[in-house]
């Protein structure tokens, strides 16, 4: 069964993971959050809902996704490595797991419009996809900076029938897109569901998104047991808001011998201050409806973030990760742009898998983690959260695979066509 068995003990009734989580939102949204909490609770115990979701996951999204042993990559980093292939799910990332669940809830609540924030565009694409499938109207908010660096996904969303609104306030990235989505939601909450794209936001979102992403770890754990008869030494994932990581980790929390390793965006290096690694270098605070670790200044103002990865370029993180961090149940590390891009290249050339730049942070982090253990018999389970098509332009520039002339010529052709 897909989400049955979700560990019920955290969050508590009011949505807290220890001191983290909760609801820090305008009163106007409380009724909608209460409705969503009730609907989610009901759905978890509703055979019809679970069967519908299971059908969508199997026959639409292509679950279960494969578990691939990455032999040549493993040799290169000195461990036995298995990849959970979320890049092979429909739309190209794990984001679809969450969106299909939320779309079903939207239908049950009688709402006809969904909105979303997106950074890399993967959650936007997944939401636009589900909206098309369910016949909802759909608006996606995306920072203007991100519409530029993830232009392919903007086109995908529009092809799927969604309205994409570039956000020009603040830092023009995921944080500000999230602010705009909340503003839209307050004004249209009676007809509109806000399908948050990660394990962030006010209760019940961190719990709800986790419950829909939990299938990543549930499948992977069983696949690994079937394949090699043992659990991994570590489960490793990249952390933006933290949904693919939470999805991978959750089933393993009670498997105490399994290390949980989250890889945040280290940008230019955590020590430079130019990064997006709140669990590594931030402090507790409140942003976008929940208390968690946060990149903030002494006045509690949110700091600008820096990452080559649009999907990790976010100053906050899900509250359950904050809790796991404080409990020392999971460890988090910052991975620089340089190391992530090197890992992207290594995976591409050793396995023929071109992963998303977000996911590349997990591969780089895995390499570093193995080096620190000083052992040669480790088994790793790594979340390959998405595929890299959307990042080809960024990567081509990074590796100097296209000349400035090529780029200029291409944009001249495009301009002429318009």
């Amino acid at each position: 069964m897909t989400i049955a068995g979700a560990a019920p003990e955290l969050p508590d009734k009011s949505g807290h993971f220890g001191p983290y989580g909760g609801r820090f939102v305008p009163e106007a949204l409380i009724a909608a959050l209460d409705q969503l909490t009730r609907e989610h609770e009901k759905a978890l115990h509703d055979e019809v809902f679970l069967a519908e979701l299971d059908d969508l996951q199997r026959n639409y999204a292509g679950r279960p996704t494969p578990l691939t042993e990455a032999k040549r990559f493993g040799e290169a980093i000195g461990a036995r490595v298995f990849l959970k292939r979320e890049d092979l799910a429909h739309t190209g990332s794990h984001k679809v797991n969450n969106v299909l669940g939320q779309a079903l809830l939207t239908k049950r609540m009688g709402k006809t419009r969904v909105i979303a924030e997106t950074g890399a565009g993967q959650h936007g694409v997944a939401t636009a996809t589900a909206a098309a499938l369910f016949g909802f109207s759909c608006t996606v908010y995306m920072g203007e900076e991100d519409t530029r660096r993830q232009a392919l996904n903007v086109a995908r969303m529009r092809l799927l029938g969604a309205e994409v609104v570039p956000v020009t306030t603040g830092t023009r990235t995921l944080k500000d897109a999230t602010n705009e989505a909340f503003r839209d939601w307050v004004a249209n909450v009676e007809t509109t569901h806000y399908a948050i794209g990660s394990v962030v936001g006010p209760h019940p979102f961190p719990m709800l998104v986790r419950d829909f992403q939990r299938i990543i770890g549930v499948e992977a754990r069983q696949q690994l047991l079937d394949r090699i008869g043992r659990l991994p030494d570590a489960a490793i994932a990249c952390v933006g808001g933290g949904s693919n990581a939470m999805g991978l980790f959750h089933r393993f929390i009670t498997d105490e011998a399994v290390a949980l390793v989250g890889c945040e965006a280290g940008g230019d290096g955590v020590e430079t201050g130019r990064h997006a690694a709140p669990l590594t270098a931030g402090e507790p605070g409140v942003l976008h409806g929940a208390r968690s670790y946060l990149m903030q200044d002494d006045d509690g103002q949110t700091l600008d973030t820096h990452s080559i990865s649009a999907g990790l370029d976010y100053p906050g993180v899900g509250p359950e990760h904050a809790w796991l961090r404080d409990q020392h149940r999971a460890v988090y590390r910052g991975v620089t742009d340089v190391d992530a891009m090197a890992a992207l290249e290594l995976l591409a050339k050793s396995e023929g898998i071109l992963c998303a730049i977000e996911s590349a942070h997990a591969f780089a982090g895995a390499k570093q983690w193995v080096a620190e253990q000083g052992r040669d018999d480790l088994v790793l389970l790594i979340s390959c959260s998405g595929r890299g098509d959307k990042d080809v332009d960024t990567a081509a520039r990074w590796f100097g695979l296209v000349s400035e002339q090529d780029i200029e010529r291409a944009s001249a052709v495009r301009a002429a066509q318009e």
Binding site: S14, G22, R23, F24, V25, P26, E27, A28, L29, I30, A31, A32, T169, G170, K175, N179, F182, R183, V186, A187, N188, V189, E190, G285, V286, L287, H288, G289, R291, L294, Q296, D298, D299, G300, Q301, T302
Partner: protein, 260 residues
Amino acid sequence: MTRLDELFASTRAEGRAALVGYLPVGFPSYEQSVAAMVAMVESGVDFVEVGVPYTDPGIDGPVIQVAVDAALRAGTKVAQVFDAVRAVSAHAPAVIMGYWNPIERLTPKVFAQRLKDAGGSGAITPDLIPEEAGAWLEAAKEHDLDPIFLVAPSSTDERLEVVGRTNRGFVYAASTMGVTGTRDTVSNRAEELVARTRQHTDLPVAVGLGVSNGAQAAEVAGYADAVIVGSAFVRALQDGGLDAVRRLAADLSEGVRRKA
């Protein structure tokens, strides 16, 4: 009786609604923002909502977003909010209007202490609900500050009861489901919300979101204890400086005295 209680007692005695003006500290500069707040009071505003600039103002529309963004870019610090409160409270009661994280960052205890020391009367916290406010309520109580939570058209009776029971000073009723900004008409859901709120509390009920002129102020004053005006003041300050702020305050002040 706190300063706000006294103020509402006197406006009630006059048989009119109070006029509340909002401006963010630091826009277009610290000095000009404080001068504009004082000018508002001189031209008829009864008390001031001193805005704490914040990077992620989730319930604010474009006018206030742009202003607080400019204030932050100009280097405005939370410490200056207390200076502004000190300057304004010499002329009229002042409450701060602030998102939660800057308060949590300073710690509720220290924030309350400094607000009280500056002569502040209370705090409107638009992204804090009573259920999450334990530490803040304690600090506010210790320093005799009024904690002011919001109610909205979507609030259930159960929630109106919680807010009515928790607030001191007054209840802030958000007139509409939406963000701050001027509107051509003030939502007709406001009147119903005020009536529903009164079933749960004897506190004054102030209506905010959307009011921008004397006629709208008069209409709202017909059923509410106070009329809150924000974006219109920000726009006036931006477009016409202190004179425009004075003119707007005078128009609104005439409005709350008119029987709609």
